[in-house]
Symmetry: C2
């Protein structure tokens, strides 16, 4: 995040819109997840494989953020599910206003799950609440196991770390146990799934996590409604 | 970059300090290079191999930026050359003031080359001039060849793209020709070197580029002095 005097004001306004979005998502029983990772961590590939694993009737939609190009939306739209690109035009993160605009004409009662792919950046997106129920870090094993210590904010705020590109493990100096330890160092409660979007390894565990999280959200909603 | 109203003022102040730094570097014949890349692009490994390739008498120093930890400085200090960590404590990029402070007690007349490793981030560092002679993008082949189109600002501003982790090419869907084409699309004059810090492939070309660039800077300095 830039340490700019106006930042507090901007973040306050973002928090206000995010709180409204969160209330709307809860009201309609939509689980919103905010996927954050470096450029090339494999966020889009993970979403491609995720959508492939869903049945045709799944009530899921995707927002995908990039500074330029709508390549990712084009890739994901092949799934047949609703996908919309947010092109930030230079801004290094998504903010709540961008999400609010992007979903303005989507009927939330028709959705159970909204997956947001943030701009490729392990730093700035951590500071902007999008009204999500949970943040998820996607970390490629090609990036190195030291990243949770170097970029602690996002690992601290995340509920889940998806360790991606497991297929590259034989070729890179990445210690899975050390990566988990480093992430737990900044966030003892963080969960992990380990996947390869190439071989499909671990994708069932990732889908199981999504189902568990949706069930939790549904329970919380039912409890709130008494 | 954040689109914050105060940003213009902050950038103007940054540009002022960067211009002072640039003048000092030129006065003392120091070639300053600003290495920018995603988390895990391999910037520190490239610097490790670069320093290993220098003779003991080489007048080189390194500044390495991270949000947290001084791991990188510890790694690079093994080279025996002067290395200093800049820990930004949350800020997503280095700025000129951080560089000014970090080199305050380094005698510039004793240096020919100052290598700056920016915070791992393909977006925000592109907006902050550090007084460098050139920006260099380090892009790992594990990140995908679409990155120049998705993060055009830094590729537009860079003089050189170091395509890193060539040893992973057999295991990732990365098209070198397409990556070069995409980078030239946003910056027709950009140069390339392709390296593996694991096998050493391409490192002589990278060292040759550094020597060429130092010779150019020395010629420009001599011409300016008449």
């Amino acid at each position: 995040m830039n340490r700019v005097p106006m930042e507090g004001k901007v973040l306050k306004e973002n928090d206000r819109i995010a709180a409204e979005l969160r209330a709307r998502f809860r009201e309609h029983g939509v689980l919103c997840l905010n996927l954050i990772g470096s450029p090339g961590a494999g966020k889009t590939s993970l979403l491609e494989r995720t959508l492939e694993g869903f049945g045709a009737g799944t009530r899921v939609a995707v927002l995908t953020g990039d500074i330029q190009t709508d390549n990712d939306a084009a890739r994901l739209a092949r799934s047949g599910f609703p996908v919309r690109q947010i092109t930030t035009g230079g801004t290094c993160h998504l903010d709540a206003r961008m999400v609010e605009r992007a979903i303005a004409d989507w009927p939330l009662p028709d959705l159970d799950l909204l997956l947001i792919e943030n701009v490729g950046n392990l730093v700035c997106p951590a500071g902007y609440d999008l009204g999500e129920a949970a943040k998820i870090v996607v970390l490629s094993v090609a990036e190195g196991e030291d990243k949770p210590l170097k970029y602690p904010t996002i690992f601290f705020k995340a509920e889940l770390v998806v360790l991606n590109k497991l297929d590259l493990l034989p070729y890179v100096p990445f210690n899975l146990a050390a990566a988990r330890e480093n992430a737990r160092c900044v966030n003892p409660a963080v969960e992990f799934v380990e996947v390869s979007c190439v071989t499909g390894q671990g994708l069932p565990a990732w889908h199981a996590w999504l189902e568990k999280r949706q069930a939790q959200a549904a329970e919380a909603l039912a409890a709130a409604r008494g």
